[in-house]
């Protein structure tokens, strides 16, 4: 008995020794900075001079005086509302198609995932070029295939967000792979039984497929939403030198926060903005869990 106890103690000590780097990192690079950031958000701070306490001043400016803050929120929310659901629908649709015992599945999967390998700056530059209003591929195809004169895309206010959404759809390969794996793990007996009962393909999709893979859809929805609310690289690269133009139509929240922090060195204001974003993300995630709890189906024994 004595030996056993010492063994488990040894195990616990080893556990904490092994995770020590993470614990140090958690305090040093995460929790510490987070608390510091909360502190900064109540000050004016330009890194060089010591912070100057302004209490809720930054938050007051943000909510009541700064129109660009609201513009940035609007841009980001519009993008999130359009990009996340359409990404899920497109990825799910393609995954369901691929799951119909399509020949050459591996080749298609490779092709669909390829854009996700080329991420960030490269994709943004490519799309900047594709969306060129006069000699870009998109407008060229719109003209030759449908005889539509394409819009000015990134140069015209109302088309800026759709441009970003279009670009995001090119990168749905990641969720597609997740959905495909989930679809393949749905037991075939369920479909056979439903077919026997005379269920149509559409009915089978709604009553079996969708409930069975709903946890995975929830996962991609939440990660997609958190990612969309933080868009930065694309906005920086695709608007002229990260200014968020034209007329602030591409002033994503992440970009405006970055401008405040590293262009104007308003670290206090940027911290306040970051905390507002964090709280928005927390609330939306909780809301999603609350709303989905009755609709997401978890298999027993998980």
């Amino acid at each position: 008995m004595k030996i056993r106890l010492r063994m488990s103690q040894k195990e616990a000590i080893t556990f904490y020794l092994l995770i020590l780097p993470w614990i140090i990192g958690f305090f040093g690079f995460q929790l510490g900075p987070m608390l510091a950031s909360l502190g900064f958000s109540f000050t004016n701070y330009d890194v060089i001079r010591p912070p100057e306490w302004v209490a809720l001043g930054n938050y007051k400016t943000m909510f009541f005086e700064d129109e660009l803050f609201w513009q940035a929120l609007k841009v980001t929310f519009t993008y999130t509302v359009l990009a996340v659901p359409s990404g899920i629908v497109v990825a799910l649709f393609l995954a369901v198609m691929l799951n119909q015992r399509v020949p050459g599945l591996a080749v298609f999967r490779t092709i669909f995932y390829l854009p996700s390998v080329i991420s960030g700056v490269a994709v943004s530059l490519l799309w900047l070029w594709l969306l060129n209003p006069t000699v870009g591929l998109i407008n060229f195809l719109l003209w030759t295939v449908f005889h539509i004169k394409g819009p000015m895309w990134l140069l015209s206010g109302p088309w800026v967000i759709p441009s970003f959404v279009l670009m995001s759809l090119w990168g749905v390969g990641g969720s597609l792979i997740i959905y495909l794996a989930a679809l393949q793990s749905v037991p075939t007996e369920l479909y056979e039984a439903a077919s026997m009962d005379g269920a149509t393909a559409w009915r089978r999709f709604w009553s079996i497929t969708l409930p069975m893979i709903s946890p995975v859809i929830l996962f991609t929805f939440i990660t997609g939403m958190i990612g969309a609310l933080q868009v930065f690289t694309q906005a920086y690269v695709m608007s002229d030198r990260g200014r968020g133009g034209p007329h602030y139509a591409s002033l994503f929240y992440g970009l405006y926060l970055f401008q405040n922090a590293f262009r104007y060195f308003k670290m206090g204001y940027a911290s306040a903005m970051a905390w507002v974003l964090f709280i928005i993300i927390l609330l939306l995630t909780l809301l999603t869990f609350r709303v989905s709890s009755e609709r997401v189906f978890y298999q027993a024994g998980r």
Binding site: T14, F15, F29, Y45
Partner: protein
């Protein structure tokens, strides 16, 4: 009448026929969609081989005439890309070592060792993934500024040696799929905890490590925000940041050169993807489905 109805096989009526039509339709749809996905890449390659005049020509051409192979050496020399390539490779490699070593040990602890508070700590790790990078950006900048690390590679490399929530999660999921009897057998043979990690889990989890390595590599190779924030000196720049600057080097963007440089910059990730596809997909599936 009855007989002819039976012999005339109507593909829309029979179950097998419907299935066949479904498969053909699905194949057609995914083929069309994959062409749509590939077109931008083809376009990129085509642009990279055109003369500046042909780039701006309407209607555009798919196959450049003449094919300007010379765009590549030109694109790669008018900014010191070899330098940016080396910088990016250095940062990515240093981070990779830290990511694999530290996270596999932490993940091993969480997957295998029993200790009070383990589950709570694991939930804490998962919840740190929800903290937006913007929240940490400012205070980390202040921290690294105070440490005198601005304009060095330290802010990009050092944090990797203190664990990454996502990779810990990924590796732990893999480790848990390895039967624990393997550990027990090794323990009976006199292996210590570290011995079990090194002799049993490491060899058995090579595919998992490959997945983690791929995530780490592609993320850091493509990372834009951190080098943009922490590096100032032009000669320290990474590929991603220099590509973004490339666009504004002259008044009008030299699209043929920019596309050539971009293609070269993404090549390591694409090549890695083609050779290690299995591990890419496995990593995504494990982090998504079993999450």
């Amino acid at each position: 009448m009855e007989a002819s109805k039976q012999t005339r096989w109507n593909p829309f009526r029979s179950k097998r026929g419907q299935e066949m039509i479904g498969r053909v339709a699905a194949t057609t749809i995914v083929t069309l969609c994959s062409v749509v996905v590939l077109l931008p890449v083809v376009w990129m390659i085509s642009t990279s081989l055109k003369t500046p005049k042909e780039v701006m020509q309407f209607p555009p051409t798919w196959i450049p005439k003449p094919i300007m192979w010379g765009n590549y050496p030109e694109a790669l020399t008018f900014l010191p890309f070899h330098l940016f390539f080396r910088n990016t490779a250095f940062i990515t490699a240093m981070v990779l070592v830290g990511d694999l070593l530290v996270n596999s040990l932490v993940a091993y602890a969480f997957a295998r060792l029993r200790a009070p508070g383990r589950e709570a700590l694991f939930i804490l790790i998962l919840s740190t993934m929800m903290v937006p990078s913007q929240v940490l950006m400012v205070p980390q900048y202040v921290l690294f500024h105070r440490l005198g690390w601005i304009d060095t590679y330290k802010p990009l490399i050092v944090p990797a040696y203190f664990g990454s929530a996502f990779l810990i999660f990924l590796l732990r999921q893999f480790y848990r799929s390895i039967p624990i009897e393997m550990d027990d057998a090794a323990r009976i043979d006199g292996c210590g905890f570290l011995g079990v990690w090194w002799r049993i889990l490491m060899p058995l989890s090579l595919p998992a490590l490959a997945s983690a390595a791929i995530f780490s590599f592609t993320y850091n190779w493509n990372d834009f925000m951190a080098p943009l924030v922490y590096l100032n000196a032009p000669e320290k720049m990474t590929l991603a940041v220099s590509l973004a600057y490339f666009r504004h080097r002259y008044g009008a963007t030299p699209w043929h050169l920019l596309m050539a440089a971009t293609l070269v910059a993404v090549l390591p990730c694409v090549v890695l993807f083609f050779f290690a596809q299995r591990y890419f997909i496995q990593g995504i599936v494990v982090s998504g489905v079993k999450g």
